[in-house]
C-alpha cells in the first residue's frame, strides 16, 4: 500500500473518503476582534462531529472591517449538518444562545444564493414586539433591542448542498510531541484555506473511530488498528516506528476546497520533516463504498 516517500515522510497510496453535507455560513462582528472571536468560538463549541453534536462547526477565518457589512472586525463561521432541517435547528439555537448573548455582537449571512435558512427571521421574536425590520437594497435586517443596545441580525443566510464533510489526514510520528507538532503545522496551513474548517479541538482528533463496536447500540468505537498501545495485540495498521497517531478532519463548502485543504496539510507536514514531525501520512476510508468523495493522497502531494 505504501507508494512513496517525500523528503523522508512516507505517504500511503490510499484515499480519504468523504460525504456530502448541507452547510451554511454566518459572519459575526463585534466592536473588537476579541469579542467577535469569542462569540464565534462559543457558537462553534461542542460541534466537533455530527454523530454526537448535531452539526460540525468552526471558524473559517477573521474578516477585516472592510470585509464586513457593518465595517467592524468580524469572523466567518461555517456550519455543517446532514440535513437541512438539522442545519436550520443548529443554526438557530447556536446563534440565539451564543451570538445574540455576546456583548456588542451582530450576525450576518456568510453565504449568498441558493436556498435560504432563517437567521434573524427566527430570532426576531426575542424582541417581544420591539424588534424592528430594516431593508437596505436587497438586504433585510432585524434589529432586536437588548441590554447593551441592539442585536442586528440579517433575516436569512444561504445554504449549500455542495458541501463535503470528512476529508481527513492520519498523521503518524515517532513520539507524541513530534506528531502533535506535525498536526499543528497541518491545521495552521489548513486554517488559511478559505471555505474550510477543522471542527475538532484545535483542528486535531486523537480518538479516530471505526464504524460499529462489540457492544450493542454503540455506533462507533476506537479505531484499534491505529492505537499504538494495542500494537501486537491486534491486527495493526501501524509501522514499528509509530508511537502516536493524530487525525485531522476537514469539512468544506465545496469538494475542491477540501482537496486544497488536504494538500495544504500534507505540504505542511512534509515541510516540517520526519525528524521534528511525522514519519508517515495516511487517510481514513471505508473501502470507497460509503462516501461519494475520494481524495487520493497521491494526487495532493506538493
Amino acid at each position: 500500500m505504501r507508494a512513496l516517500t517525500v523528503k523522508g515522510v512516507r505517504i500511503d497510496d490510499t484515499f480519504a473518503e468523504a460525504f456530502g453535507m448541507r452547510a451554511t455560513a454566518v459572519i459575526i462582528t463585534a466592536d473588537s476582534i476579541r469579542w467577535a472571536r469569542q462569540a464565534a468560538l462559543t457558537m462553534a463549541g461542542f460541534a466537533t462531529s455530527v454523530i454526537g453534536c448535531g452539526c460540525e462547526a468552526g471558524i473559517d477565518g477573521d474578516l477585516t472591517p472592510a470585509q464586513t457589512p457593518d465595517r467592524r472586525p468580524g469572523v466567518r463561521v461555517l456550519l455543517f449538518a446532514m440535513s437541512t432541517a438539522e442545519l436550520q435547528k443548529q443554526l438557530q439555537t447556536r446563534v440565539a444562545q451564543c451570538v445574540l448573548t455576546s456583548p456588542g455582537s451582530a450576525c450576518y449571512a456568510g453565504l449568498d444564493g441558493g436556498e435560504a435558512l432563517r437567521l434573524g427571521n427566527a430570532l426576531r421574536y426575542f424582541g417581544d414586539g420591539w424588534q424592528i425590520s430594516k431593508r437596505f437594497g436587497s438586504k433585510h435586517y432585524w434589529r432586536i433591542p437588548v441590554m447593551d443596545g441592539e442585536f442586528v441580525c440579517e433575516a436569512t443566510t444561504g445554504l449549500t448542498k455542495q458541501a463535503v464533510g470528512g476529508g481527513n489526514l492520519l498523521i503518524m510520528g515517532r513520539t507524541a510531541p513530534a506528531t502533535l507538532a506535525a498536526a499543528e503545522a497541518a491545521t495552521a496551513a489548513i486554517a488559511k484555506v478559505p471555505d474550510t474548517i477543522t471542527p475538532f479541538p484545535g483542528g486535531i482528533v486523537r480518538s479516530g473511530s471505526k464504524v460499529g463496536s462489540k457492544y450493542k447500540g454503540v455506533p462507533a468505537s476506537t479505531n484499534h488498528a491505529f492505537c499504538p498501545t494495542l500494537r501486537g495485540a491486534v491486527e495493526t495498521a501501524l509501522d514499528p516506528d509509530a508511537a502516536c497517531v493524530l487525525e485531522i478532519v476537514i469539512d468544506g463548502l465545496t469538494s475542491d476546497a477540501v482537496a486544497v485543504a488536504m494538500a495544504a496539510g500534507i505540504a505542511a507536514v512534509i515541510k516540517l520533516g520526519p525528524k521534528r514531525g511525522a514519519v508517515r501520512i495516511s487517510a481514513g476510508n471505508y473501502g470507497g463504498k460509503l462516501g461519494p468523495h475520494h481524495y487520493h493522497l497521491r494526487g495532493l502531494l506538493p
Binding site: T29, D70, R72, I132, K139, G149
Partner: protein, 269 residues
C-alpha cells in the same frame, strides 16, 4: 448605444401626460409609431411629434431635453431602463415605478415617486410636496426603491411610506415622514416642524437638531448603534453628504406615541 432623445419644441399650451414614454413601452416601436403617441390632458388632441423633436435611438435609454414643468407623469410605472431629463418636470414623476432609473437634472413637482415600488430616482433640483406619498384614496405611499433629492423637498415627504429609502440632501418642509408605516427617510438639511407626525414605524434621520418635534416623541437618549453603520454604508452609495450624518452618535426619539409609537427619529445631539 445611442439613447432615444426627445427635445421639447417649446412650452406646451396644456399640461401633458408623458406616462406612455417609458422604455418598456417604447422598445420595439418605430419612429413613426412613437411620433403618433397621444399626450394631451385636455380635449385638444396632441401627439408626440407636435411637442418633441424625436431623435431615434435605443428606447431602453430615453433622454428628454429642454423639459418644462408642464410635463407630468414622466417615468410612471417604469419597470426597467433609464430616463434622463434635462430641465424641470411636472407632477407624479416616477409614480408607481418598479425598476430602472429616473434622473432629473432640474426640479420636480408634487407626488414625485408616489407609490414607487422599486428602482432609483435621482433629482438634482428640488421636489414638491408629498414626495413618495399616496394620492387620494391610497393607503400607502412609497413601497420600495431609492429616491435621492439633492435640493429641498416640500411638505410631507415620505407620507405614508411603507418601505424603501428617501434621501434629501437639502431642507424638508413640515410634516416630513408623516404617517410613515415603515421605511427610511433621511433629511440632511433643516426640516420643518412636526417631522414624523403620526408615524407608526420606520426611521427618520434629521441632519439638524430635532426642534419642533411633536411632544408625542419620547427621547430615548444618545446611542451609537450598529444599525446606523449599516444605514451609512447603504446611503453612502447615493449621497456622501447624507452619509456624513451617521459619523457621530445620534439621539433617538421613539414615536409617534399618538399612534403605534414604534417609529424612530434620529437626530444630531
Amino acid at each position: 448605444m445611442r439613447p432615444l432623445v426627445l427635445t421639447l419644441r417649446g412650452r406646451p399650451d396644456q399640461r401633458l401626460d408623458l406616462a406612455p414614454l417609458v422604455p418598456h413601452r417604447l422598445v420595439g416601436m418605430t419612429a413613426a409609431e412613437i411620433e403618433r403617441i397621444e399626450l394631451q390632458t385636455t380635449r385638444r388632441r396632441v401627439v408626440l411629434a407636435d411637442i418633441f423633436r424625436l431623435q431615434m435611438g435605443d428606447a431602453a435609454t430615453i433622454r428628454i431635453e429642454a423639459s418644462c414643468d408642464r410635463l407630468d407623469r414622466i417615468g410612471q410605472e417604469m419597470t426597467d431602463g433609464e430616463i434622463t431629463v434635462e430641465g424641470n418636470i411636472g407632477v407624479r414623476a416616477g409614480r408607481l415605478m418598479s425598476g430602472g432609473r429616473l434622473t432629473v437634472r432640474g426640479s420636480v413637482g408634487p407626488w414625485a415617486a408616489s407609490g414607487m415600488k422599486g428602482g432609483t430616482i435621482e433629482i438634482f433640483g428640488d421636489a414638491g410636496d408629498r414626495l413618495g406619498g399616496p394620492i387620494a384614496g391610497e393607503t400607502a405611499g412609497m413601497r420600495g426603491g431609492v429616491v435621492v433629492v439633492h435640493g429641498a423637498v416640500g411638505e410631507r415627504a415620505g407620507d405614508r411610506m411603507r418601505r424603501g429609502t428617501i434621501v434629501v440632501e437639502g431642507d424638508a418642509g413640515s410634516y416630513a415622514g408623516s404617517r410613515m408605516i415603515a421605511g427610511t427617510l433621511v433629511v440632511a438639511g433643516r426640516s420643518g416642524p412636526l417631522a414624523g407626525y403620526l408615524m407608526k414605524r420606520g426611521t427618520i434621520v434629521l441632519g439638524r437638531t430635532a426642534d419642533g418635534l411633536s411632544p408625542t416623541f419620547i427621547d430615548c437618549g444618545v446611542h451609537d448603534l450598529v444599525t446606523t453603520r449599516l444605514m451609512a454604508d447603504f446611503i453612502g452609495g447615493y449621497s456622501a453628504r447624507a452619509a456624513r450624518l451617521f459619523r457621530r452618535s445620534l439621539r433617538r426619539f421613539a414615536g409617534d406615541m399618538a399612534t403605534l409609537g414604534k417609529g424612530e427619529i434620529f437626530s444630531r445631539t
